[in-house]
């Protein structure tokens, strides 16, 4: 099946619909390629994104196919990568930059917070920042220190930034296309652990930033998760089902803006909720989600909303990582505390 090019927005749409099973890494690569083809203003750059194709191969083949003009290596300098992207966006381009690992993005933090997030506002809309900052995100890959942090709270806390994280190849494709098409700056967090997970991708499906996704229907309890925590939630839901509990899973997907409507409706329908994320829980996105659910759903709740998060410690070394990361048992234990006896 083919969609006529006339019916397609050149920034967001794909000229041809294709459906194929691929890894999240391949879906992201495809999204970048399709965006480069669809819009001459899109450029991809960062460290190692050229000949190497990125340390996770997300930009594999882009330089070979589209040339150095569209995908290129920069000097090793994160602030330089983001700061020059700001200048390019000021001059009408749509840069998509890769910052290799969560903690390596921190030298660019000033540029992200002081300029990427604020320029649209400072100029009263005169200069929008249509740029995307891709950051491989989270742990679970046995990486050594500085390679597995979860920095989403820093970005989500910053007004002006859109923060999204996909958990499926389909969302990886659709959300990245939407992020590149967005007039607002997007921090795009790619769960490293899921780069090699596979799923069906339909290139004609477009995503709306700011919307959560019901990943699994259920009636007893709602698990709220994003990124690598979503497959964990699905696994926990399956395990709980075998114990007779009907578990709903919501993939929050968009950390900022947040889809209160979907999340509120979901939790109201079950009356119980657990938020799952691997970042340290203190002052976290998980805390924010928990607070929002309490504010909006209090009278519908059968039990306090629980969080299952990473501990408030620096990300664990590889051999202790399995103790740090939320797992199915920890999620099931949390579910068990949700005042089931009182209902009986």
């Amino acid at each position: 099946m083919t969609i006529a090019p006339d019916d397609v927005d050149t920034r967001t749409g794909s000229p041809a619909r294709e459906v194929a099973t691929m890894s999240m890494a391949a879906a992201l690569n495809r999204a970048l390629a399709d965006a480069i083809e669809a819009d001459p203003d899109v450029v991809v750059f960062g460290e190692d994104v050229g000949a190497l194709g990125g340390v996770f191969r997300i930009t594999d083949g882009l330089t070979a196919r589209y040339g150095e003009e569209r995908c290129f290596d920069t000097p090793l300098a994160e602030s330089g990568i983001v700061g020059t992207a700001v200048g390019m966006a000021m001059n009408g381009m749509r840069p998509v930059v890769e910052l290799q690992f969560d903690a390596f993005a921190l030298p660019a933090f000033e540029q992200v917070v002081s300029h990427v997030a604020k320029l649209g506002n400072r100029t009263r809309g005169g200069m929008r920042m249509p740029l995307v900052i891709r950051i491989p995100f989270g742990g679970g890959i046995g990486g050594v220190e500085h390679h597995c942090d979860s920095s989403e709270a820093y970005y989500a806390h910053t007004p002006g930034l859109t923060v999204v994280s996909p958990s499926t190849p389909q969302d990886a494709y659709s959300l990245l296309r939407a992020a590149i098409a967005s007039p607002d700056p997007v921090v795009f967090l790619e769960p490293k652990k899921l780069y090699w997970s596979k799923g069906e991708v339909d290139t004609s499906i477009t995503a709306e930033i700011g919307s959560a996704r019901i990943a699994r229907d259920g009636t007893d309890v709602t698990l709220l998760a994003y990124g690598a925590a979503v497959p964990l939630a699905m696994e926990a839901a399956e395990a709980a089902a075998s114990e007779g509990r009907s578990v709903q899973v919501v993939d929050v997907r968009s950390l900022s803006p947040f889809d209160d409507a979907t999340v509120t409706a979901a939790v109201k329908s079950t009356g119980r909720a657990v938020v799952i994320a691997e970042a340290p829980g203190y002052a976290s996105v998980a805390s924010e989600i928990q607070a929002r659910v309490f504010e909006r759903c209090f009278e519908f709740l059968e039990a306090p909303v629980r969080r299952v998060t990473g501990f408030d410690v620096p990300y664990a070394p590889p051999k202790l990582e399995h103790w740090y990361l939320p797992d199915v048992d920890r999620v099931l234990d949390a579910i068990d505390t949700l005042h089931w006896d009182e209902e009986a």
């Binding site: 330089g80 700001v86 200048g87 000021m90 300029h115 400072r122 100029t123 005169g126 007039p183 209160d260």
Partner: protein
């Protein structure tokens, strides 16, 4: 380019000395008379703008003003070397350069007045918002120039910063990116000897700030920042080189901040009055006036005309800044993102309710003669 050709001179380029006498330079030509007259007019206006802004701070009309008094030759030079398609990336101290580029003085003061974070149409004047964090805008300038090169546009980007900014990491990254990607950008450091209270000797151990250029593989040059003729010649050459594909360069102007960092600063704590006094003799305005008068270019009529023009600008500033802008609180939410999120809409509705209640209370208070 040979690496020795990238090195700046041992002494700053100067074309008109402190007495207004012409200095013959084997490489740099004195700008033509018309250009010098335009520059002089710019200096007169720039000095008046600085003085007026200082007065407006004392009157409480400006929250703060970082004066460029004494640095007007750099400010005016930076504006005059740019063509129509070029862009200026200024800092908070560069209001005179911004105004010299055509921005209305009152619009350039919006940031300092406290109405908003930037007050002018950046695209209409090709002037980026005045940057407050140090050196961060140099990277924006590089990216902007990189995009211009990518699209084949005839745009040179002139990025301004001070001596303090050269210590920042972003300064290094901007120089390096600009040189590696060979983009049409000129970095112009106004070395005014102090970063608030910290002297140049604490910023660098290099022979000069312009010497840093060679480490990145671009030419550096030093210029007498109080000699507008030299600033125009040196910056002009750098802009021409950038425009014709010669890549970036770094120009360091040697100048002096005659006043405190801002009104909030007490410069008697960190520098001697004698030092400040000594720089009065090197004043950029008096120097050019002496030169133009001696050479018969500037007469009393032109002097009066320029002074009257500067007074008009000052009067317009006073009028504009003595008027309170009609600020709309919804603007707090309007520009954060292109699409307003449900969260921001909810917060705006909350604020709108508060505003309506306070207006109602004011009305009631008026009806009851203030009794509650």
């Amino acid at each position: 380019m040979l690496h020795t050709e990238m090195l700046p001179r041992d002494t700053a380029v100067r074309l008109i000395d402190e007495n207004g006498e012409r200095v013959i330079d084997e490489h740099y030509a004195l700008p033509d008379t018309d250009t010098l007259l335009r520059a002089y007019r710019g200096l007169v206006e720039g000095r008046r703008i600085n003085d007026q802004a200082g007065a407006l701070v004392r009157q409480g009309r400006l929250a703060v003003y970082p004066s460029s008094h004494g640095q007007e030759a750099c400010q005016v030079g930076a504006s005059l070397v740019l063509g129509e398609s070029d862009w200026l990336f200024p800092t908070y101290r560069d209001s005179v350069a911004v105004i010299s580029r055509g921005v209305e003085p009152a619009d350039a003061m919006v940031l300092l007045k406290g109405d908003w974070h930037s007050g002018y149409d950046v695209r209409a004047h090709r002037v980026a918002p005045q940057a407050t964090p140090l050196a961060t805008q140099l990277l924006h300038a590089v990216g902007f120039a990189q995009a211009a090169k990518h699209r084949g546009e005839d745009t040179v980007v002139l990025a301004l910063c001070g001596d303090g900014a050269t210590s920042e990491g972003d300064f290094h990254e901007a120089m390096n990116f600009a040189a590696v990607f060979h983009v049409p950008v000129v970095f112009f450091v106004q070395n005014n000897e102090f970063a608030i209270s910290v002297p140049l000797s604490r910023q660098t151990a290099a022979p000069s700030l312009a010497h840093k250029a060679i480490g990145y593989g671009m030419p550096g040059q030093r210029v007498d920042g109080n000699d507008v003729a030299a600033v125009l010649a040196v910056l002009g050459e750098a802009v021409d080189r950038a425009r014709t594909g010669g890549g970036p360069s770094l120009i360091e102007a040697h100048t002096y901040r005659m006043q405190a960092h801002t009104n909030a600063d007490d410069d008697t704590r960190y520098r001697e009055r004698d030092e400040v006094q000594a720089w009065i003799a090197r004043d950029p305005l008096l120097r050019l006036r002496a030169h133009l008068t001696e050479t018969g270019v500037l007469d009393a009529e032109a002097e009066e005309r320029f002074a009257a023009g500067a007074e008009e600008i000052a009067a317009a500033m006073r009028t504009a800044l003595n008027t309170d802008a009609d600020l709309d609180p919804e603007d707090l939410f309007r520009f954060v993102t292109d699409t307003r999120s449900p969260q921001l809409e909810e917060q705006w509705q909350l604020l709108r309710g508060e505003i309506e209640r306070s207006q109602l209370a004011e009305t009631e208070s008026a009806h009851t003669g203030g009794a509650r």
